[in-house]
């Protein structure tokens, strides 16, 4: 007696055999206890697998997830727009910084060393009249720093939802493992 392959028996259970093949297996199973036992084992396995419960998430899962997706005013700009915005902000900061530096450098200073190094000298220790330039440089640095900070904030990626653990269902009657 030729026994059908195990794969053939699985396909038989999945109803993926043609009618003639299925009828041949039916006939064989009627006469072969060993193959009938194999099919019974397979059937038990398939029944066990399909009987596995579907896990249930809390009802709030969908709404919480969608809340994260809803665009906030800052995130209303699409990624391409946000990139353009950051580039524009950077340009403004650079132009502003250059303009103010030029203004400071062009301002007549009584000190003969009228360059950037001279300005730093002035910042480190100078009479009241020259201290105004130092304050201006400081203002430029604060402005530039603020501009960079704004750019970084604008470029911050979308905040992802945090991991949440589903709460155990209080209605469940099974004892814990």
């Amino acid at each position: 007696m030729t026994h059908p392959e195990l794969e053939c028996l699985q396909l038989y259970l999945d109803q993926r055999l043609s009618d003639p093949e299925r009828m041949a297996v039916d006939r064989h199973l009627g006469a072969c206890a060993a193959c009938a036992g194999r099919v019974e084992n397979l059937r038990r396995l398939v029944t066990g697998l399909t009987a596995m419960n579907e896990l249930v998430l809390p009802d709030t899962f969908a709404s919480e997830l969608t809340e994260e997706l809803a665009p906030s005013p800052r995130l209303a700009v699409d990624p391409a727009g946000r990139k353009l915005l950051v580039q524009a902000a950077l340009c403004v900061v650079i132009l502003l910084t250059c303009g103010l530096l030029l203004l400071i450098i062009d301002t007549p200073v009584t000190d003969p060393s009228n360059d950037i190094l001279g300005l730093i000298d002035i910042m480190l220790g100078s009479p009241f009249q020259e201290r105004a330039s130092a304050v201006a440089v400081l203002a430029v640095m604060v402005l530039a720093g603020g501009g960079v900070l704004v750019c970084l904030l604008a470029a911050t990626p979308r905040i992802r939802p945090q991991r949440r653990v589903p709460a155990p269902s209080p209605t469940h009657s099974d004892p814990p493992r």
Partner: protein, 203 residues
């Protein structure tokens, strides 16, 4: 809108009818609406959340990771909605995203086991059974679950999709981007391994 290449086995639908038999909007219709209104996506999530979470849990064996993977799957799905072709089925597309995420996760070194007992999250219907038989059933489920987790990832995915998500061979082939014969072979080997581990009395 970019077109999504039709995968083998992904059944095309008639877009002129975007409502199901009960008059509810179809998944594909909701997917299109979600492009304009993020809130509409909530209904899609609600429809699939338990199935995707169950898939992730059976794949990973960790309910915390499964929850995270389910979230990630829906977020990626939402982000990829502009590339979704509404003339194709939404479900296989979502399943593909979720399954790939799970497989990538399992192939990475981030796998850890533990966390709360996921069985606690089950909402079981009361069938009027005695506690002993309930306990037996639970033990049986745990044995099967443990046996599935011992399968190689590629076999695990196929057996979960076939028997726990009720997918056809063709749908599994489309979800996993595998030839039909490969699905058949993987399923055969997976069930053989499970049968030997759980019920083999012949050897």
């Amino acid at each position: 809108m970019r077109n999504f290449a039709a995968a083998p086995g992904v059944q095309a639908i008639d877009t002129s009818s975007l409502e199901d038999a009960a008059g509810e909007p179809s998944d594909e219709s909701l997917a299109i609406q979600s492009l304009l209104q993020a809130e509409t996506f909530e209904e899609l999530v609600r429809r699939y959340q338990n199935r995707i979470y169950s898939l992730a849990y059976r794949m990973t064996g960790d309910n915390v990771e499964a929850y995270d993977l389910a979230q990630e799957a829906f977020l990626r799905c939402y982000a990829a909605l502009p590339s979704f072709n509404p003339t194709l089925r939404f479900a296989p597309w979502l399943y593909r995203i979720a399954t790939n995420l799970c497989i990538n996760f399992l192939q990475s070194s981030r796998v850890r086991r533990g966390g709360a007992d996921p069985e606690l999250a089950l909402q079981m219907p009361d069938r009027g059974k005695q506690p002993d038989s309930l306990l037996e059933e639970k033990e049986q489920r745990q044995r099967i679950h443990a046996a599935i987790l011992n399968l190689p990832t590629k076999y695990r995915a196929v057996v979960i999709l076939r028997h726990m998500q009720d997918k056809t061979y063709e749908e599994i082939a489309a979800i996993l981007c595998l030839p039909l014969n490969t699905v058949r072979t993987h399923l055969f080997r997976a069930r053989e391994l499970l049968r030997r581990r759980l019920y083999d009395t012949e050897r």
